[in-house]
Amino acid sequence: MPALVFLFLFLVLPLSSLFLVSVTEPSLGLGNYAKLLGDAAYGRVLFNTFFVAGVVTCVTLVIGYPVAWLLAILPARTAHLLMAAILLSMWTNLLARTYGWMVLLQRTGIINRTLIDLGLINEPLPLINNLFGVTIGMTYIMLPYVILPLHATLSGIDPAIMQAAAITGAKPRQIFWRILLPLSLPGIGAGCLMVFVMALGYYVTPALLGGTANMMLAEMIAQQVQSLLNWGLGSAAAFILLAVTLVFFAIYVRVVGLGKRS
């Protein structure tokens, strides 16, 4: 009962009032939503948001899967070290890590300087203040969120099942596609959902590594509310984000299930 009161006071109430704002300011009706979904400039922001979230999800999965597998098969001591490195990066301050990427990626940063010194390029590459920089920074930050659930799933798979598959004549490639990958789907689903949903609403990294030309949704909400004081449009954008998140969560529950499948 106290939990319900808590939820009502701190979740239902603020969300409801935010929703009211989105359909009443500046005028009553769904004007804000129509504007967001109809206007090309806002459409561009929505596209950027989904595009970056999608790319980040795919890249973290491709990088994270082998790491999670390594964690599952390495001897315990080495696995603990690797896990500590992953967690340490996760616990480091978000701003510090993002500034770190700025140092690396900027025009006069280490990467551009090295490439120019090696004579590989003449002009610095545009690595920052665009969606490329945002994708790199977010991929790095999201990696643990895909590695951890994948690791949980993969370490729950009995290695004897892979041995059994091998002795029946399956090649390593066949074992991966037909046994290991299907068995790791719950972890893939959980990790991807987590990363995708977090990426959709991500603010700090896009704000620092992105450019003004290619905004993401969270940046736009902040801009509408803080700079333009357009609470109606900002609230509507927040609700679109919430709705999309819920849709993806529903898909996930449908496909993978919340708990263990019976």
């Binding site: 059994a164 091998a166 029946t168 004549g169 399956a170 066949q174 046994i179």
Partner: protein
Amino acid sequence: MTSLTKNAVEIHHLVKRFGQVTAVDDVSLSVADGEFLTFLGSSGSGKTSTLFIVAGFEDPTSGSVEIDGRSVLSVPPNERNIGMVFQRYTLFPNMSVRDNIAFPLSVRGRPQNEIDRAVAEMLDMVRLGSYAGRRPSELSGGQQQRVALARALVYRPRLLLMDEPLAALDKRLREDIQQEIRRIHRELGVTILYVTHDQEEALRMSDRIAVFSHGKIAQIGSGSDLYERPANGFVASFVGNSNMLRGRLRGVSERMASVELADGTVLHGLSDANLIHGTQVEIMVRPERLIPSSSRAGDLTSLQSVEGTVIDVSYLGEAVQYEIATRWQQNIVVRNDSRASGLELGASAHFSFHVHDALVFPTQPSAS
């Protein structure tokens, strides 16, 4: 060294070390085509390591494994054409029973109609035809192992390895599936290497048994070889029940050893080992070879007896088992047909046995 009988598997001087531990210590054996050979031993005796080297999951430190005369050590497991049933349940949880059995043929790219036919045949063989569409999680442990057996045999492997496949099952079910494995072995004539720690299972199923101890083969032979003519005290006490009467060697003549027990009783038994006069030895007598009688055995040289008091009686159905306290402070076990003369608790009796049922071995180091 070419022999006329065709051997399916030849293992020569196999050694496997894990750091300081020698898991497999110079094991050599050959398995005849179509033979059912069991590795029997307690955990850590090297039996499973040897099996895993044959499967290709472990590389030996030295030695060789040949299948049909060709070394397989550089061949990965998936190309060895071996079937295997594991101790743990290893069916693919993401596939139905049918797809599990079809998997080995499917990864070989066989045509679908051939796969369907072979899977149906295997389902029939393990009598699980009506379960084809089920998931492994919907099957009992015994059913899962039967599906695993079908999956291991559907591609007609050269050799079937079984690593304690029935260890997790209860006794009744275990015996049913033992029967089934024996039937399948008879029907298909496949060569089987079977690992177990259960001596009853080994005796029940195998053509021959290799008894493993501390990474070595203590003895290899048929069940009756091991039971009637154990090569040493370890095999005598590991295979079947036995009484090991401790005493001191008084003399040996023509394989007949005389042993003096602590209370001065002198008993005789057969011995093949090189025994040293005056050393500690053990006389092994199986519990069922001791026959109760009211009086000391006659002067027949081939029959002898020990005397003792019944301190425990256990009724076991087909047999009755007595624990007997002897005058030399060592309890012995006697097992008789339950219809035979019953002894009361506290009764004093003689237990006679034939000298040929007594075997004399040097005392084993107690560290075993």
